[in-house]
Amino acid sequence: MAHVPFEYGLFLAAALFLVGLVGVLVRRNLIFVLASIEIMLNAAGLAFVVAGSRWGHADGQVMFIFVLSMAAAEVAVGLALALLFRRAFGSLDVDAASRMRG
Protein backbone atom coordinates (compact mmCIF):
# COMPACT_ATOMS: atom_id res chain seq x y z
CA MET A 1 0.00 0.00 0.00
CA ALA A 2 1.00 3.57 -0.54
CA HIS A 3 2.57 5.47 2.31
CA VAL A 4 1.75 9.05 1.52
CA PRO A 5 1.01 11.81 4.00
CA PHE A 6 -2.64 12.34 4.80
CA GLU A 7 -2.33 16.00 3.77
CA TYR A 8 -1.41 15.19 0.18
CA GLY A 9 -4.58 13.20 -0.35
CA LEU A 10 -6.71 15.97 1.07
CA PHE A 11 -4.82 18.53 -1.01
CA LEU A 12 -5.53 16.54 -4.18
CA ALA A 13 -9.24 16.46 -3.28
CA ALA A 14 -9.27 20.21 -2.60
CA ALA A 15 -7.49 20.98 -5.89
CA LEU A 16 -9.91 18.82 -7.88
CA PHE A 17 -12.87 20.44 -6.14
CA LEU A 18 -11.64 23.94 -6.94
CA VAL A 19 -11.00 23.04 -10.57
CA GLY A 20 -14.64 21.93 -10.73
CA LEU A 21 -15.71 25.16 -9.04
CA VAL A 22 -13.84 27.26 -11.60
CA GLY A 23 -15.51 25.21 -14.33
CA VAL A 24 -18.96 26.00 -12.92
CA LEU A 25 -18.09 29.69 -12.64
CA VAL A 26 -16.54 30.16 -16.07
CA ARG A 27 -18.30 27.82 -18.47
CA ARG A 28 -21.70 28.68 -19.89
CA ASN A 29 -22.46 25.45 -21.72
CA LEU A 30 -24.92 23.45 -19.63
CA ILE A 31 -23.17 20.15 -20.33
CA PHE A 32 -19.89 21.59 -19.05
CA VAL A 33 -21.59 22.95 -15.95
CA LEU A 34 -23.02 19.50 -15.17
CA ALA A 35 -19.64 17.86 -15.82
CA SER A 36 -17.99 20.35 -13.46
CA ILE A 37 -20.53 19.49 -10.77
CA GLU A 38 -19.58 15.84 -11.30
CA ILE A 39 -15.92 16.77 -10.80
CA MET A 40 -16.76 18.52 -7.53
CA LEU A 41 -18.81 15.57 -6.24
CA ASN A 42 -16.03 13.19 -7.19
CA ALA A 43 -13.51 15.34 -5.29
CA ALA A 44 -15.75 15.30 -2.21
CA GLY A 45 -15.88 11.52 -2.46
CA LEU A 46 -12.10 11.42 -2.76
CA ALA A 47 -11.81 13.38 0.49
CA PHE A 48 -14.09 10.83 2.19
CA VAL A 49 -12.02 7.90 0.95
CA VAL A 50 -8.75 9.55 1.98
CA ALA A 51 -10.09 10.22 5.46
CA GLY A 52 -11.42 6.67 5.76
CA SER A 53 -8.07 5.31 4.63
CA ARG A 54 -6.24 7.42 7.19
CA TRP A 55 -8.11 5.76 10.05
CA GLY A 56 -8.27 2.37 8.37
CA HIS A 57 -12.05 2.23 8.60
CA ALA A 58 -14.69 1.34 6.01
CA ASP A 59 -16.86 4.37 6.79
CA GLY A 60 -15.17 6.60 4.23
CA GLN A 61 -15.86 4.13 1.46
CA VAL A 62 -19.48 3.79 2.57
CA MET A 63 -19.88 7.56 2.36
CA PHE A 64 -18.31 7.49 -1.10
CA ILE A 65 -20.97 5.01 -2.21
CA PHE A 66 -23.66 7.40 -0.98
CA VAL A 67 -22.02 10.29 -2.83
CA LEU A 68 -21.88 8.10 -5.92
CA SER A 69 -25.59 7.28 -5.84
CA MET A 70 -26.40 10.94 -5.23
CA ALA A 71 -24.26 11.93 -8.23
CA ALA A 72 -26.05 9.36 -10.40
CA ALA A 73 -29.47 10.70 -9.35
CA GLU A 74 -28.34 14.29 -9.91
CA VAL A 75 -26.97 13.65 -13.37
CA ALA A 76 -30.10 11.78 -14.50
CA VAL A 77 -32.38 14.68 -13.56
CA GLY A 78 -29.86 17.28 -14.72
CA LEU A 79 -29.51 15.80 -18.18
CA ALA A 80 -33.30 15.51 -18.53
CA LEU A 81 -33.46 19.20 -17.64
CA ALA A 82 -30.75 19.89 -20.23
CA LEU A 83 -32.95 18.28 -22.88
CA LEU A 84 -35.87 20.50 -21.83
CA PHE A 85 -33.57 23.54 -21.74
CA ARG A 86 -32.40 22.92 -25.26
CA ARG A 87 -36.00 22.60 -26.40
CA ALA A 88 -37.16 25.75 -24.62
CA PHE A 89 -34.29 28.07 -25.50
CA GLY A 90 -32.76 26.54 -28.60
CA SER A 91 -29.26 26.45 -27.16
CA LEU A 92 -27.32 25.12 -24.19
CA ASP A 93 -26.04 28.54 -23.12
CA VAL A 94 -27.18 29.06 -19.53
CA ASP A 95 -27.19 32.83 -20.13
CA ALA A 96 -30.26 32.26 -22.34
CA ALA A 97 -32.19 31.57 -19.15
CA SER A 98 -30.98 34.62 -17.24
CA ARG A 99 -34.37 36.37 -17.37
CA MET A 100 -37.50 35.30 -15.60
CA ARG A 101 -40.79 35.18 -17.41
CA GLY A 102 -43.36 37.65 -16.20
Binding site: N42, V62, L68, V75
Partner: protein
Protein backbone atom coordinates in the same frame (compact mmCIF):
# COMPACT_ATOMS: atom_id res chain seq x y z
CA UNK B 1 2.57 2.10 -4.66
CA UNK B 2 3.62 5.46 -3.29
CA UNK B 3 4.76 6.63 -6.70
CA UNK B 4 1.48 5.39 -8.15
CA UNK B 5 -0.42 7.79 -5.92
CA UNK B 6 1.58 10.81 -7.05
CA UNK B 7 1.51 9.94 -10.74
CA UNK B 8 -2.22 9.16 -10.76
CA UNK B 9 -2.96 12.31 -8.78
CA UNK B 10 -1.03 14.43 -11.26
CA UNK B 11 -2.83 12.77 -14.18
CA UNK B 12 -6.20 13.40 -12.50
CA UNK B 13 -5.41 17.06 -11.89
CA UNK B 14 -4.07 17.75 -15.39
CA UNK B 15 -6.88 15.95 -17.19
CA UNK B 16 -9.49 17.72 -15.05
CA UNK B 17 -7.91 21.07 -15.93
CA UNK B 18 -8.11 20.07 -19.59
CA UNK B 19 -11.79 19.09 -19.18
CA UNK B 20 -12.94 22.55 -18.20
CA UNK B 21 -10.91 24.30 -20.90
CA UNK B 22 -12.05 22.29 -23.93
CA UNK B 23 -14.38 23.72 -26.55
CA UNK B 24 -15.54 20.37 -27.89
CA UNK B 25 -17.98 18.59 -25.57
CA UNK B 26 -17.03 15.06 -26.62
CA UNK B 27 -13.33 15.75 -26.10
CA UNK B 28 -14.05 17.13 -22.64
CA UNK B 29 -16.12 14.10 -21.68
CA UNK B 30 -13.42 11.68 -22.85
CA UNK B 31 -10.85 13.62 -20.83
CA UNK B 32 -13.21 13.37 -17.88
CA UNK B 33 -13.10 9.59 -18.29
CA UNK B 34 -9.30 9.76 -17.99
CA UNK B 35 -9.63 11.91 -14.88
CA UNK B 36 -12.06 9.46 -13.27
CA UNK B 37 -9.86 6.48 -14.12
CA UNK B 38 -6.90 8.29 -12.54
CA UNK B 39 -8.94 8.92 -9.40
CA UNK B 40 -9.80 5.20 -9.39
CA UNK B 41 -6.08 4.42 -9.42
CA UNK B 42 -5.63 6.83 -6.51
CA UNK B 43 -8.33 4.92 -4.62
CA UNK B 44 -6.60 1.65 -5.33
CA UNK B 45 -3.26 2.96 -4.15
CA UNK B 46 -4.90 4.18 -0.94
CA UNK B 47 -6.10 0.67 -0.13
CA UNK B 48 -9.71 1.02 -1.24
CA UNK B 49 -10.11 -1.44 -4.12
CA UNK B 50 -13.89 -1.69 -3.83
CA UNK B 51 -14.58 1.98 -4.49
CA UNK B 52 -11.92 1.95 -7.19
CA UNK B 53 -14.00 -0.63 -9.04
CA UNK B 54 -17.18 1.33 -8.35
CA UNK B 55 -15.57 4.49 -9.68
CA UNK B 56 -14.75 2.78 -12.97
CA UNK B 57 -18.11 1.02 -13.29
CA UNK B 58 -20.49 3.73 -12.15
CA UNK B 59 -18.72 7.00 -12.91
CA UNK B 60 -16.72 6.20 -16.02
CA UNK B 61 -19.05 3.46 -17.18
CA UNK B 62 -22.54 4.76 -16.50
CA UNK B 63 -22.54 8.48 -15.79
CA UNK B 64 -20.19 9.55 -18.57
CA UNK B 65 -21.97 7.28 -21.03
CA UNK B 66 -25.21 9.01 -20.02
CA UNK B 67 -23.51 12.33 -20.74
CA UNK B 68 -22.34 11.10 -24.13
CA UNK B 69 -25.82 9.82 -25.03
CA UNK B 70 -27.31 13.17 -24.10
CA UNK B 71 -24.78 15.05 -26.20
CA UNK B 72 -25.60 12.80 -29.14
CA UNK B 73 -29.33 13.29 -28.50
CA UNK B 74 -28.93 17.06 -28.39
CA UNK B 75 -26.81 16.96 -31.53
CA UNK B 76 -24.65 19.87 -30.44
CA UNK B 77 -21.52 19.41 -32.50
CA UNK B 78 -20.47 22.63 -34.11
CA UNK B 79 -23.17 24.81 -32.69
CA UNK B 80 -22.14 24.36 -29.07
CA UNK B 81 -18.63 25.47 -29.89
CA UNK B 82 -20.09 28.74 -31.06
CA UNK B 83 -22.27 29.03 -27.97
CA UNK B 84 -19.49 30.52 -25.94
CA UNK B 85 -18.07 33.32 -28.06
CA UNK B 86 -14.93 34.64 -26.44
CA UNK B 87 -15.77 32.93 -23.19
CA UNK B 88 -12.56 30.98 -23.23
CA UNK B 89 -10.34 34.06 -23.27
CA UNK B 90 -7.98 34.65 -20.40
CA UNK B 91 -9.99 37.60 -19.08
CA UNK B 92 -12.92 35.37 -18.20
CA UNK B 93 -10.72 32.97 -16.31
CA UNK B 94 -8.87 35.60 -14.31
CA UNK B 95 -11.31 36.41 -11.51
CA UNK B 96 -12.64 32.88 -10.83
CA UNK B 97 -9.16 31.42 -11.13
CA UNK B 98 -7.73 33.97 -8.74
CA UNK B 99 -10.47 33.43 -6.17
CA UNK B 100 -10.15 29.66 -6.46
CA UNK B 101 -6.38 30.00 -6.03
CA UNK B 102 -6.86 31.99 -2.84
CA UNK B 103 -9.28 29.36 -1.56
CA UNK B 104 -6.85 26.58 -2.44
CA UNK B 105 -4.06 28.35 -0.57
CA UNK B 106 -6.27 28.74 2.48
CA UNK B 107 -7.29 25.08 2.31
CA UNK B 108 -3.64 24.03 1.96
CA UNK B 109 -2.72 26.04 5.05
CA UNK B 110 -5.63 24.57 6.97
CA UNK B 111 -4.75 21.03 5.90
CA UNK B 112 -1.05 21.49 6.67
CA UNK B 113 -1.73 22.87 10.13
CA UNK B 114 -3.51 19.69 11.19
CA UNK B 115 -1.81 16.67 12.71
CA UNK B 116 0.22 14.70 10.21
CA UNK B 117 -0.43 11.04 9.54
CA UNK B 118 0.23 8.33 7.01
CA UNK B 119 -2.56 7.20 4.79
CA UNK B 120 -3.26 3.80 3.27
CA UNK B 121 -1.52 1.82 6.00
CA UNK B 122 -4.19 -0.88 5.84
CA UNK B 123 -6.30 -2.01 2.91
CA UNK B 124 -10.04 -2.05 3.53
CA UNK B 125 -11.58 -4.69 1.32
CA UNK B 126 -15.10 -5.19 -0.03
CA UNK B 127 -16.11 -7.50 2.81
CA UNK B 128 -15.60 -4.80 5.43
CA UNK B 129 -17.36 -2.19 3.32
CA UNK B 130 -20.30 -4.50 2.75
CA UNK B 131 -20.57 -5.30 6.44
CA UNK B 132 -20.64 -1.60 7.28
CA UNK B 133 -23.07 -0.87 4.46
CA UNK B 134 -25.64 -3.38 5.68
CA UNK B 135 -24.89 -2.94 9.38
CA UNK B 136 -24.81 0.57 10.84
CA UNK B 137 -25.52 2.27 7.51
CA UNK B 138 -28.57 0.22 6.47
CA UNK B 139 -30.88 3.22 6.77
CA UNK B 140 -28.57 5.18 4.45
CA UNK B 141 -28.83 2.43 1.85
CA UNK B 142 -32.62 2.63 2.05
CA UNK B 143 -32.51 6.40 1.67
CA UNK B 144 -30.16 6.13 -1.32
CA UNK B 145 -32.51 3.67 -3.01
CA UNK B 146 -35.41 6.05 -2.41
CA UNK B 147 -33.38 8.89 -3.90
CA UNK B 148 -32.59 6.83 -6.98
CA UNK B 149 -36.26 5.93 -7.39
CA UNK B 150 -37.22 9.60 -7.11
CA UNK B 151 -34.59 10.51 -9.70
CA UNK B 152 -35.89 7.77 -12.01
CA UNK B 153 -39.45 9.03 -11.77
CA UNK B 154 -38.34 12.65 -12.10
CA UNK B 155 -36.26 12.03 -15.20
CA UNK B 156 -39.05 10.03 -16.77
CA UNK B 157 -41.55 12.78 -16.00
CA UNK B 158 -39.36 15.47 -17.53
CA UNK B 159 -38.86 13.40 -20.65
CA UNK B 160 -42.57 12.63 -20.89
CA UNK B 161 -43.58 16.27 -20.74
CA UNK B 162 -41.34 17.02 -23.68
CA UNK B 163 -42.88 14.19 -25.67
CA UNK B 164 -46.43 15.34 -24.96
CA UNK B 165 -45.52 18.81 -26.12
CA UNK B 166 -44.34 17.31 -29.39
CA UNK B 167 -47.56 15.35 -29.76
CA UNK B 168 -49.76 18.33 -29.06
CA UNK B 169 -48.59 20.05 -32.19
CA UNK B 170 -48.90 16.90 -34.23
CA UNK B 171 -52.50 16.07 -33.40
CA UNK B 172 -53.88 18.96 -35.45
CA UNK B 173 -52.32 17.66 -38.62
CA UNK B 174 -52.88 14.01 -37.77
CA UNK B 175 -56.64 14.32 -37.25
CA UNK B 176 -57.17 16.13 -40.53
CA UNK B 177 -59.46 14.08 -42.77
CA UNK B 178 -57.88 13.87 -46.16
CA UNK B 179 -60.80 14.91 -48.41
CA UNK B 180 -62.05 17.70 -46.12
CA UNK B 181 -60.71 20.77 -47.87
CA UNK B 182 -58.31 22.01 -50.47
CA UNK B 183 -54.79 20.71 -50.13
CA UNK B 184 -52.36 22.94 -48.28
CA UNK B 185 -55.03 24.75 -46.26
CA UNK B 186 -56.58 22.94 -43.31
CA UNK B 187 -60.27 23.55 -42.57
CA UNK B 188 -61.11 26.13 -39.96
CA UNK B 189 -62.57 23.77 -37.36
CA UNK B 190 -59.42 21.65 -37.33
CA UNK B 191 -57.26 24.65 -36.65
CA UNK B 192 -59.38 25.59 -33.68
CA UNK B 193 -59.36 22.01 -32.47
CA UNK B 194 -55.60 21.76 -32.68
CA UNK B 195 -54.74 25.19 -31.32
CA UNK B 196 -55.46 24.57 -27.63
CA UNK B 197 -53.52 21.34 -27.72
CA UNK B 198 -50.44 22.95 -29.17
CA UNK B 199 -50.71 25.95 -26.87
CA UNK B 200 -51.00 23.65 -23.87
CA UNK B 201 -48.00 21.73 -25.04
CA UNK B 202 -45.73 24.71 -25.55
CA UNK B 203 -46.50 26.75 -22.46
CA UNK B 204 -44.66 25.42 -19.40
CA UNK B 205 -47.11 27.08 -17.02
CA UNK B 206 -49.94 25.12 -18.55
CA UNK B 207 -48.10 21.80 -18.71
CA UNK B 208 -47.04 22.23 -15.11
CA UNK B 209 -50.63 22.60 -13.93
CA UNK B 210 -52.13 19.82 -11.83
CA UNK B 211 -54.66 18.89 -14.48
CA UNK B 212 -51.98 17.98 -16.98
CA UNK B 213 -51.94 14.30 -16.25
CA UNK B 214 -55.70 13.89 -16.29
CA UNK B 215 -57.40 12.39 -19.32
CA UNK B 216 -57.90 14.73 -22.21
CA UNK B 217 -61.21 16.61 -22.13
CA UNK B 218 -63.88 15.85 -24.69
CA UNK B 219 -63.20 17.45 -28.02
CA UNK B 220 -59.45 17.26 -27.65
CA UNK B 221 -57.98 15.08 -30.38
CA UNK B 222 -56.72 11.64 -29.46
CA UNK B 223 -52.98 11.42 -29.11
CA UNK B 224 -50.89 8.95 -31.01
CA UNK B 225 -47.34 8.58 -32.11
CA UNK B 226 -45.83 10.45 -34.96
CA UNK B 227 -44.30 8.15 -37.53
CA UNK B 228 -40.73 9.37 -37.21
CA UNK B 229 -40.83 9.16 -33.43
CA UNK B 230 -40.79 5.37 -33.48
Amino acid sequence: MTAVFYIAGAVALISTLLVITRRNTIHALLLLVISLLAVAVVFYSLGAPFVAALEVIVYAGAIIVLFLFTVMLLNVGRQAEGDEPGRLRAAHWLAPGLLAGVLLALLAIAIASGPSAQVGARAVGPAEVGAALYGPYAIGVELASTLLLAALIGARHLGQRQREADLGTVTAAATTPAPAGPAGEPPAELVTAGAPASAAGDDPSVTGSPGDDEPAPAGRPVRFWRKDDV
